[in-house]
Symmetry: C2
Subunit: 242 residues, 2 copies
Amino acid sequence: MKNVILASTSTVHGSGFLEYLYDELIASFDGIDHVLFIPYARPSGLSYEDYTSKAKLAFKKININLTGIHEQQNPENAIKSAKGIFIGGGNTFVLTKTLYDNNLIPVLKEVVETGTPYLGTSAGSNICGQTIGTTNDMPIVYPPSFIGLGLIPYNINSHYLDPDPGSTHMGETRETRINEFHVFNEIPVIGLREGSWIKLKGSEIKLQGNKTARVFAPGIPAFEISSGSQIEKSINNILKAG
Amino acid sequence: MKNVILASTSTVHGSGFLEYLYDELIASFDGIDHVLFIPYARPSGLSYEDYTSKAKLAFKKININLTGIHEQQNPENAIKSAKGIFIGGGNTFVLTKTLYDNNLIPVLKEVVETGTPYLGTSAGSNICGQTIGTTNDMPIVYPPSFIGLGLIPYNINSHYLDPDPGSTHMGETRETRINEFHVFNEIPVIGLREGSWIKLKGSEIKLQGNKTARVFAPGIPAFEISSGSQIEKSINNILKAG
C-alpha cells in the first residue's frame, strides 16, 4: 500500500527544516527507526555529506536514524532494503539526471509503489509526478528524460506562487507558465503552495496542510481545492461539471 | 561581420512591443526592408499566425516588412535568404525543440555569424548563448539538446531579477539558481535586466540600454557592468584582478 508524502517545500518561513511536517512524519514513518536519504538534488550546490547531516539532524528529533545513499556501496540495493526513503529539494534537473545516471528510477518506483514509506520535498516531490515538466528550477544540467516516477496521475508545481498584481516585471507568472504547459501536455498540474503536501495512502490522494491548492487541467479554468479533500474526486467532479 | 541584438525582453513596462528598441533596430537593420520572423517560442501558447501579426505591426512602424518562417515552404532556405532575422520570446524549451526538430540550428548559426542582422528577445536571446541552461522558463517540452547557437561565449539569463529582501517565499532567488548552475558549469552568465540588451558588432560585445547587468562566473563574486561597457574586457579585467 502506497504511503507517500509529497510536500511543496522542506521548510516554511520562520520554522526549521521539516519542522512543520513532524506530526505527519511521525504518523507516516510509524514503527520505522531508519530512513534512507537521497541528497542528489543538492540545494545551492550543497555536498551530499552536508545535505545528509542537515537531514539527519531533523530526523533525529523524531527519533529516526538517517543515512545518505552515497554512503552505501550499492545504491540500488540501498533503495531495495530501505525501511523508508526521503528525497529532499534542490535542483530537479540535477536530481533527475543523477537518478537516471545511476539507473535508480525503476527500483524507486517499485519500492514506493509496493509500500516503502516515502517523503519528498520540493524537487523530491516534483520527481514523483508524471514528468518534471512543471518544475520552477533552472535547467542547469541535461537529464536523459523528463519522465518522473508517476506515483500520481498529475504533475506537481511546488512552491506555487499566486500572481503579484502590483508587479511591473514582464517575466511570465506561474499561472501563465502552467497554462503554456497545457498547450503541449494533457497532464493535470497541482500548484502546491508552501505549507501544503499531498498524502498518498493506498489509492487515496489527499491534500494536506494549511493552504488550498490550485489545480490546472487543459480546457477548464484553474480551480482551488481545500485541505483534506480527495484530489482525484475533486478533479473528477469539476471535469464532469465542466 | 556579426550584427546582433540580444535583448532581455521584447517589452518594457508601460511601453509597446519592441518600442524601447526602435532606435537600436533602425540602426542595426539599416538598409533592410524585410525581416524573417521565427515565432516558435509561442508566448502563452500564441499561434504562429497571431504572434507574427504582432511582430509585423511593430516592424511596420520602422518601415520594415516582416513574414513568419511558417509561411515559407522551406524554413532552411528562408533563413539562408533572409535579409534580417528576429526570434521573439516565449518558452525557451519550445523554441529550442522546434529549431532542433526542423534542423535549423546549424544554418541559423552560420548566417548570423556571417553577417545577417539578428534580433533576439528573451527566449530568442537565450538560444544565442552557449546553452539554454540559465533560462527561467518551465521545461514544458523536452528538447533533444540544451546546446544553443553559441554566438557569445556566455549564457544569458534574461528578465534578470534582483533578490527581494522582504520575501518570505522559500523558492530560490535568481542569484542562487545561477550560482547552482556554476556548481556544474564553467560558462559565465550575463544577468540581463529588462531594458538591457547585448550588442554584437563584429568581435565587439557591448552592454546597451538603461540598466547595469550582473555577471556571474565560477569562483568569483558576482559583479555589475555598466551600460556601454565591453563585456569581454570587463570580465577579463575582473578575472585578472581576482
